[in-house]
Symmetry: C2
DNA sequence: AAGAATAGTTGCTTTTTGCAACTATAATAC
DNA sequence: GTATTATAGTTGCAAAAAGCAACTATTCTT
């Protein structure tokens, strides 16, 4: 059975106007008639450093959860932010000084009890960046990269941020199975072994070298950088650049090793 | 460089309290100090009827976009809804009289200009249901199943709902490539040809019968219903039931036919 | 009883993957 | 210098999976 919201609902408030046009309606419309939840935007910023997945956390300077670690974020500013996406981009720049190589909306969490101050909703974004591109300055007590173990960090987080982090890690893993997004965790120029290592770190399992190369090369997502090589011990590896930052590559098959 | 939000931001308002405990902070906290966007929840409810994907739309009775078709939804009710998810579930019942077989959060759209009334955010959910399980009663002028062509309907939608619908269709298609969610578009008992047809309708391409069966059987997601058969012309098909409504099946490979 | 329509199986070909051995190129040890 | 070690990259083959098409099975229609 199809029914409309019952008359007690906020959407009906102010609708006693009967035959006016839309302009008239809007002139009389009172946006404050019904209660709204507080609205924030939080960020799960991932990087890979030192062979481990890390997330950027900040130590809360104020209540609630004062002194607790939490995801960076804060209130939407209706005057400054033209959209939720714009708000996320602004906060990302505030936290890292970087326009994100990769910023995607994760999910919105909203409930009566996730914040002691009352009904709040937060739209969470997750970002990927190369660890070299960010340098935490002076105030390390305030913001820090924290290693992710499994799908959590080693201490308590404020609010429902542990759950949010776990969801973000799950989304990251599942996207790695079918897409190329791991390239955003590396600097602009990188080698195939580096890319493979990144996948292995996040998926937490070894991948076959030759299968991995086939897959990546066939997806035609990489551009071979002429002549260049690189670093360390052993034979230097070919440098590549990600070809098309906008296009989405979707692998026809998940990357994890299948039982044989 | 890591920096916190600047002091002009709303999050800092009311934080002149210095050494009080959290209870004291909360007692003084004024939730109305900063402006909040209006917050709504909208639904993209899909079904397959008559060999086509359909979406449930309602004709708006009031401004803005009075008389326009739009996605069902409405304002969050802070008193009634304990969470955004609960609000979505409530609205789904209001629209269809059904607890959804499948309800998932799609995305949040929020901006200054998506609603003429001002800054609004809407969290959109998408739902899948068997068309037999819903019957639109009397007020067809108010709510109706509308065929989806490509990723849109044949007429204008209010707000940014055309864009939202397109995103929802894309998400639906991409989920069908790797998961079993199409079962939620069928009644509890169904046959393999029906399931295959559902995939074909949404993915808009024919699938190979024997490959499809291999895939579904190997995923071990279906339970063969003893003895039962069914309907129409030709040889009756075996009835199945979806085995585990909670578990997620993830196919290791996309279902669409790969170029050969 | 024949034919049509749909369901379901089977066998073979082609494609893709997994695996392991092989070659290549550099730094390091001696 | 030369052997050794470490890493990069290739190749060939076996195993697995997918595509394809023909075949059987079961029901309804005429």
């Amino acid at each position: 059975m199809i029914k409309h919201d019952d008359p007690a609902e906020p959407r009906k408030i102010g609708l006693t106007i009967t035959n006016s046009d839309e302009a008239e309606f809007l002139r009389r419309y009172d946006t404050a008639r019904y209660e709204k939840p507080s609205f924030t935007v939080d960020l799960v910023i991932f990087t890979v450093r030192n062979e481990h997945l890390h997330v950027l956390l900040v130590k809360r300077a104020e209540h609630p959860f004062k002194g607790c670690w939490a995801l960076p974020g804060g209130f939407l500013d209706l005057r400054r932010d033209a959209s939720v996406d714009a708000c996320a981009a602004r906060k990302l720049i505030q936290e890292t000084g970087l326009r994100a190589p990769y910023l995607e909306q994760l999910k919105t969490y909203g409930s009566r009890d996730r914040d002691p101050r009352g009904w709040t909703a937060t739209t969470v974004y997750f970002a990927l960046m190369a660890s070299e591109s960010v340098h935490l300055l002076g105030n390390q007590a305030e913001a820090s990269w924290v290693g992710v173990r499994g799908d959590q960090v080693d201490f308590e987080l404020g609010f429902d941020h542990a759950r949010i982090l776990a969801d973000a890690v799950e989304r990251l893993r599942s996207k790695l199975e079918y897409t190329h997004i791991a390239v955003h965790l590396l600097p602009e120029e990188f080698t195939l072994p580096e890319l493979q290592r990144t996948y292995e770190i996040i998926l937490q399992q070894p991948l076959d070298k030759s299968s991995f190369r086939r897959r990546v090369i066939q997806a035609d997502m990489l551009e071979e950088l002429t002549g260049k090589q690189r670093d360390g011990f052993g034979r230097p590896a070919q440098l590549y650049r990600f070809r098309d930052y906008d296009r989405r590559t979707f692998f026809p098959r998940s990357i994890s090793r299948h039982a044989r």
